[in-house]
């Protein structure tokens, strides 16, 4: 079996999570090569063939061109599996390859069981094992699902690649995340509001509990998207990744993107009416209650101590 890993390069840097791709390939024990539109001055630490296109020439986000570069490598290398991150780069490029190859694409793989990929369904409430029926299979890996104990080592054998194809869209630059203001990564206690707060007025309950505990308040994505809490307080993959001593998730179902941002907290309390909510997977204590009724009671008792 042969595996081709697709590494990423963004804002002038090699994205170091390529180590997760290597960890995945190690688990499968296959011959491995790597594809990267990147820079020869910043190579991944990897023992194997690296097909390298020059990012200065082909751009960081240029799907039509990256697709052609990758298809040329696939034609030459004939891998059984082509492995991406399930990321803004991976979920954009992978389906293009799947269509071109008429190959199965299995998205957001969280584990391999008996050689078969496992993916989440319905906001991670369910799991599905998927068998590919095509000779080649495209996989995208959930961030953090495959890790390496130690940093990767090695020096790749670089094979430069080129194409004459030109792009159809134009990526002109980047806008930095708006994370000024409070820095939740420095907080030891965080109380976060999720969709379960119901309406903006109820954010005050979450703030009150955070204050009673001597911590900061945060929020999950839907609450920030609704404009009820500032983006700098968002916890999750597109916000902050936090590791406080205590994390209290109020009315947060536990979407993967949220869990990725808080699951390494030392102690996690979930308050939720839905006992099956995926937040239960990481919670040390799960309080089955409506936060709108429970938070005032808890806050009052904390203040009365």
């Amino acid at each position: 079996m042969k595996t081709l890993l697709v590494a990423e390069f963004r804002e002038g840097k090699l994205r170091i999570k390529y180590s997760q791709l290597i960890a995945f390939a190690k688990e499968l024990q296959t011959t491995t090569s790597m594809f990267l539109v990147g820079s020869p001055s910043e190579l991944p630490q990897f023992d194997g063939t690296l097909y390298l296109a020059d990012v200065a020439k082909y751009g960081e986000y240029n799907p039509t061109v990256h697709k052609q570069l990758l298809l040329d490598v696939i034609a030459k290398e004939q891998p059984d599996r082509i492995v991406f991150h399930h990321s803004s780069y991976g979920w954009d490029l992978a389906p293009r390859i799947a269509v071109a190859l008429k190959a199965a694409q299995i998205s957001e793989v969280v584990a391999i069981e008996d050689g078969v990929p496992v993916v989440p369904v319905c906001n991670a409430k369910l799991r599905r094992k998927i068998k590919s029926k095509t000779a080649q299979t495209i996989l995208t890996l959930q961030a953090g699902a495959f890790g390496m104990e130690e940093d990767p080592i090695g020096t790749p054998t670089v094979v430069p690649i080129d194409t004459s194809v030109t792009g159809k869209v134009d990526c002109s630059g980047y806008e930095a995340a708006k994370l000024e203001g409070v820095d939740l990564t420095k907080s030891e206690i965080i109380v976060s509001a999720g969709r379960g707060v119901g309406k903006p007025e109820n954010i005050a309950m979450v703030q009150a509990l955070a204050k009673a505990l001597g911590g900061e308040y945060g929020a999950s994505r839907p609450v920030v998207d609704a404009g009820w809490v500032d983006h700098n307080r968002q916890v999750g993959t597109t916000g902050r990744t936090v590791t406080p001593k205590l994390y209290v998730a109020c009315g947060i179902s536990g979407a993967i993107q949220h869990l990725a941002g808080m699951k390494k907290s030392e102690f996690i309390v979930a308050i939720n009416t839905d006992k099956d909510a995926p937040i239960g997977e990481v919670a040390d204590v799960f309080v089955v209650a409506d936060l709108k009724q429970f938070l005032p009671v808890l806050t009052e008792k904390l203040l009365a101590r």
Partner: protein, 257 residues
Amino acid sequence: MNILICIKQVPDMESKFKINAEKNWYDRTDLAWRMNEYDEYAVEQAVRLKEQVGAADLTVLCIGPDQVKETMKKALAMGCDRGVHIADNDAHKREPLEIASMIAGFAKDKNFDIVFTGMQSQDRGSAQVGVMIAELLAIPAVTTIVDFTFDNGAIHVKRELEGGGRALVKATTPVVLTCQLGLNTPRYPTLPNIMKAKKKELLTLAVPDMGGIGACQETAAFYFPERKGSGLVLEGELPDMAEKLIHLLKEKTGVLA
């Protein structure tokens, strides 16, 4: 402008899910259904674009059994002009490439300028269909947009990136755009618009030619994840639970010292 919006009907994610008899998907009975959240942003953006440019025709497309028409009516009440329902009782078993082939089969001779859809569905969550539609139609796609402006034929979008940063991307029509949460604030249909929507065209079509594309993967198992943590579950009266929780926090964490 000629605009297509592709939406999906999904169960409310707070539902109590059960596994079906074939053990390959969730049981579809006794669920509350709604529009895939990501698609609500797609519908809203299309309606806003029509409000901006005036001359635009919005077709909303949905694949599934008869019940999906209920969700389509919401899109019509939000401001779409017409609905195209592709009748397929097996839609929930279809893979992303099959779904994309149906949509491309419908769209190929219609000259849509923009196709809006959600970046993924809440149930299957493959994040593949939008890009695949574009590839099958041989037009560009930009995924995961959180900002959209249309100015004199030029489309400027921002793609959301890990960490919260954004990539600034310029495109021209025709193009497929997949919408991320937070792109806009989807409107609630007003009562007059709900009434108006009842008179809008909602055409039901048979499954179009899929260009010979069939299933290329199969479900080997479908199950609930094991609860890894030995997390303690508190249930009962609110004051009791609050006391117990405070006790636990004192015992297990250093934060209430």
